[in-house]
């Protein structure tokens, strides 16, 4: 407002008086200009008030719209949504002049829990169902990620099986398996979690005074927060949960309990079917066209889609070799290797430290992904960025195979913001070699910190094409897919 007035004044003084000090010109024009200016000011103020009333009304509507999803997400993301709600309200106020843009503007994604803030960590601990003791000797730069003592988690949770009555048995089982490390890989984790939620929904019955939609959403939030305490959720699992919640929210109020439950279960079945199973088949169909006879394909880590591609190509009779690259501490690719050899493919097995020496004979690189961001960066098992970079240097095309439900609207620029810390003891010991025990008491050594990262981020420059169930797209087209297809499936 002040800005406008000042410009108006300056314009007037320029028009009527020479560009001297405006204070001198005012008494010359004295009454008329002052009255005119007064009238102008009043008119401006009225116009301003009118427009502000409009924007206030708008922002009020938008605020309430934001508040109810915030409320329904209260349980799970109380810790996350608290500050962002206020910050988004201030955004609305600042952009009050441009109502259209404001409606189109998306809210910043809710902040993930940052674990270096002592207060929030304490609050979360009090609410937590799983008792976890924090690890010592944490790396400074990763203090915002949760790190717990891995030895105690499973026994602690196990002995409390019967105390956690609020938890559905299927959900508890999934939580146990996550902590124990029985499942790895996004597809499997997602499928298990959705199946557990399905079981929980089937056994659910609305309490007398409550509405199904809100109560079921609250229950699902509590289950999801339990699961994420056991092991932090991956980004694509967040997509699946958003889908489930949006389906619940869309249930017509006239549905009875049984109708609603059958509808939800069939929705979840459809999600798993379309987004995972059929998507995998489509991806395999696309990717096979990229494999020619005489190819040498390189793969890293254990991706179920890549495994399916290799086996189907072999079944079709194409002649190619596979180089399987593996890394410590998990050695996940060995299982893949065993299955490929059992089917008769000719394979070479090596560790990631030798990648630059074998890359010269590789013709294509197939990698899986845990999630793909809007700027085309790929979040995947640690080591993938290294492989993609080496492949880029040797001008070998890198194909990322991932289903569309793993796309997310976030943007990641580095591997530090959003990552997961694994068990440091796995890095300190070598299985099968008891004599390598130099790091046995590493927790007592204050100047030693062990880091076991699980994920890393591959920039889009190193990726040639992403094979999804919507087709083969360059990394720059990811935001298009998120925008076009995201709305119809995930976001209401």
């Amino acid at each position: 407002m002040k800005f406008w007035r000042r410009t108006e004044k300056k314009h007037e003084t320029v028009k009527e008086v020479s560009p001297d000090t405006p204070s001198v010109s005012q008494p010359l024009k004295a009454k008329t200009t002052k009255a005119e200016r007064r009238a102008l000011q009043e008119a401006q103020r009225a116009a301003k008030a009118a427009s502000k009333g409009y924007t206030n009304g708008n922002s009020a509507v938008a605020e309430s719209g934001k508040a109810s999803p915030a409320k329904s997400k209260k349980q799970s993301s109380q810790k996350k949504d608290g500050p962002p709600v206020t910050s988004s309200v201030t955004i609305y106020k600042k952009s009050g002049n441009h109502p259209l843009e404001k409606e189109r503007k998306k809210d910043p994604p809710p902040q993930r829990m940052q674990f270096d803030d002592q207060n929030r960590v304490e609050k979360a601990k009090r609410r937590a169902l799983v008792n976890q003791t924090e690890a010592r000797n944490r790396v400074e730069i990763f203090r915002h990620l949760p790190q717990y003592e891995h030895g105690n988690q499973l026994p602690n949770l196990e002995s409390r099986l019967f105390q956690l009555d609020s938890m559905h048995p299927a959900v508890f089982k999934v939580g146990l398996r996550y902590i124990a490390g029985d499942i790895s890989g996004v597809n499997a984790r997602c499928t298990e979690m959705l199946r557990a939620l399905q079981d929980a929904i089937i056994d659910y019955s609305t309490p007398p005074e409550k509405v199904l939609i809100r109560d079921l959403t609250a229950k699902i939030n509590s289950y999801v927060s339990f699961i994420s305490e056991c092991r932090p959720l991956s980004i694509s699992m967040g997509n699946a949960i958003r889908f489930v919640k949006s389906r619940i929210a869309k249930l017509p109020l006239s549905y009875t309990d049984t109708e609603a439950k059958t509808a939800l279960c069939s929705d979840i079945d459809r999600f798993i079917n379309e987004k995972i199973i059929i998507a995998d088949k489509v991806i395999v169909g696309h990717a096979i066209t990229k494999i020619r006879d005489g190819d040498v394909l390189l793969t890293y880590g254990l991706s179920c889609v890549v495994e399916m591609i290799l086996l189907s190509a072999h079944d079709l009779g194409k002649k190619f070799r596979v180089v399987v690259v593996d890394s410590r501490p998990k050695f996940e690719s060995q299982a893949l290797l065993a299955r490929l050899i059992a089917k008769g493919l000719s394979c070479m097995y090596t560790h990631i430290n030798a990648v630059s020496y074998i890359m010269h004979e590789v013709t294509r690189v197939f990698l899986g992904a845990s999630a793909v961001m809007s700027n085309g960066t790929v979040l995947s098992k640690i080591g993938t960025a290294c492989i993609a970079m080496v492949a880029h240097e040797f001008r070998v095309p890198v194909l990322i195979c991932c289903e569309a439900f793993k796309f997310h609207e976030r943007v990641l620029l580095d591997s530090i913001c959003c990552n997961e810390l694994g068990d440091p003891d796995a890095v300190a010991t070598v299985p099968g070699r008891m004599d390598i025990n130099y790091l046995d008491n590493w927790t007592n050594k204050e100047n030693l910190q062990l880091l076991n990262l699980m994920y890393d981020v591959t920039p889009s420059d190193y990726i040639s094409v992403i094979v999804t169930d919507h087709g083969m797209i360059p990394p720059t087209s990811v935001p298009v897919i998120v925008r076009e297809y995201g709305q119809e499936h995930y976001i209401t």
């Binding site: 105390q163 009555d165 146990l176 299982a335």
Partner: protein
């Protein structure tokens, strides 16, 4: 959590005669002045399991046990006492109450277990692996050294008949072989298919089966139906399930898979297969999975089920009351090392003396002792490492060492009791000397008699 608890409290066991009788069944035998069944019930209550089914043999035993339970736990727990005819064995007991069992998994606890192992952990292991049976294994107790020479010439070689031979896989999660030590004469037979599938078996003799099992209900009832000759869970059902774990004949999902016709069904089946493939590939492959997906070109569909174990930590106490030796040991332990189990608070001298108990002049009560309500001790008595029940009248100059004295016992002057168990309502006249004896209820030991290693009971 979809678990149902069944406590097998037995009846009147022959091994514990003459301590037990029709009036005092197995379950109500006092350990540290509490019926032994109370330890199991408290353990379950700690784990938030409030709905129990207690199975006893014999109708009058059922009445006794029921009366005690409703007296002690009426408001806190919901307990159903079921009685089965005698001598049907544990398997028969489960068959008899099969219609009561509705939950997905059944937790079967032996009523004579004294332990503080978290029951939830066994159940969680069971759920995590989706197992058919999960057994609790604990460190086998070393028979404690008796301060006196062990009972005479009866058995010089202390046969530790309480151990089992357990075969585990390298990750110590799965049960590959189980046999009771007493049964093994010369050789141990192990399934070759299991050995081939796993690669490595660890045979241990230091672990004991604690008789706490988690069963999948459908499988348990199916096995009991099909094999009507099985009498005992521990000796028949469990080894059968362990032996057949790679050649499973039990239906894991309850209902048999119907023949699928039509393309939609084929599609859904192939989708199911894909899902199970994804899940199988993603998880740590257990040897069961490797076996079923194993050799190429095998025609028969092989199914496997899992038998898991939960090995309790060495800090947990676990013992079963199945012999008189065990009774002595458990009494000693509950007041001694495992005193947190007894639930009593210890005095400064490390013993428990009830406030209404009266001690005479110059009477010493050593550490690790227990004196019940209303008991009276004469002058110059000495009590060491023993349990004395309620309302006992103990005369002067009496020495009680390493023994268990139950309620309403009258002990004359100058008696000496060592390593013995004296049941309720017994009268020991003056100068009786008992060493490693068991005196049944209501017996009168004549004055001046000296008994060593005898079982004295009313005929």
């Amino acid at each position: 959590m979809d678990f149902q608890v069944v406590v097998l409290a037995g009846g009147v066991s022959k091994k514990l005669l003459p301590l037990v009788s029709k009036e005092l069944p197995n379950a109500l035998l006092p350990v540290a002045n509490r019926p032994v069944l109370s330890y199991v019930v408290e353990l379950l209550e700690l784990s938030n399991l409030k709905d129990l089914i207690v199975v006893v043999e014999g109708k009058d035993v059922a009445l006794n046990v029921g009366a005690w339970i409703s007296g002690a736990y009426a408001d806190r727990l919901h307990v159903e006492v079921a009685s089965v005819p005698e001598d049907v064995g544990t398997a028969g007991a489960i068959r008899a109450i099969a219609h009561h069992l509705t939950a997905k998994d059944i937790l079967i606890v032996s009523g004579d277990l004294v332990s503080d192992v978290p029951v939830g952990a066994v159940a969680a292991t069971h759920r995590r692996h989706d197992a058919v049976v999960t057994a609790l294994l604990c460190n086998a107790p070393i028979s404690g050294p008796l301060e006196s020479v062990s009972s005479g010439g009866k058995d010089k070689t202390k046969k530790p008949g309480r151990y089992d031979l357990i075969g585990l896989d390298p990750t110590k999660q799965f049960l590959l072989h189980i046999a009771t030590g007493a049964e093994v004469e010369k050789d141990l037979r192990i399934q070759k298919s299991i050995l081939r599938a796993v690669g490595q078996i660890e045979i241990r003799a230091d672990l004991m089966d604690a008789h706490l099992y988690a069963f999948k209900r459908s499988v348990l009832l199916e096995v009991l139906d099909q094999k009507s000759a099985f009498q005992s869970l521990k000796h028949d059902v469990l080894p059968y399930l362990v032996r057949s774990q790679l050649k499973s004949e039990v239906l894991l999902n309850g209902t048999p898979q119907a023949e699928e016709n039509g393309t939609e069904k084929v599609n859904s089946q192939s989708n199911q297969q894909m899902i199970s493939q994804i899940l199988a590939n993603a998880s740590e492959p257990t040897f069961h999975l490797r076996h079923t997906l194993g050799t190429i070109g095998s025609d028969s569909v092989r199914r496997a089920h899992k038998c898991c174990v939960y090995i309790s930590g060495s800090s947990k106490y676990c013992a079963r009351l199945n012999s008189i030796q065990a009774y002595n040991d458990i009494n000693r332990d509950v007041i001694g090392e495992a005193s947190h189990l007894s639930g009593y608070s210890f005095s400064a001298h490390n013993n428990i003396i009830h406030p209404t108990a009266e001690l005479g002049a110059k009477t010493t009560v050593g550490p690790h002792c227990m004196l019940g309500e209303g008991s009276q001790m004469g002058d110059k008595c000495s009590v060491k490492r023993s349990v004395i029940g309620r309302h006992c009248r103990i005369g002067a100059n009496v020495k009680v060492v390493n023994s268990v004295v139950m309620n309403h016992v009258t002990i004359g002057d100058f008696c000496s009791i060592q390593g013995s168990v004296i049941c309720s309502n017994v009268q020991l006249q003056e100068r009786a000397i008992l060493k490693d004896c068991q005196v049944g209820a209501g017996f009168v030991v004549t004055s001046g008699s000296e008994q060593k290693g005898e079982v004295l009971a009313k005929k």
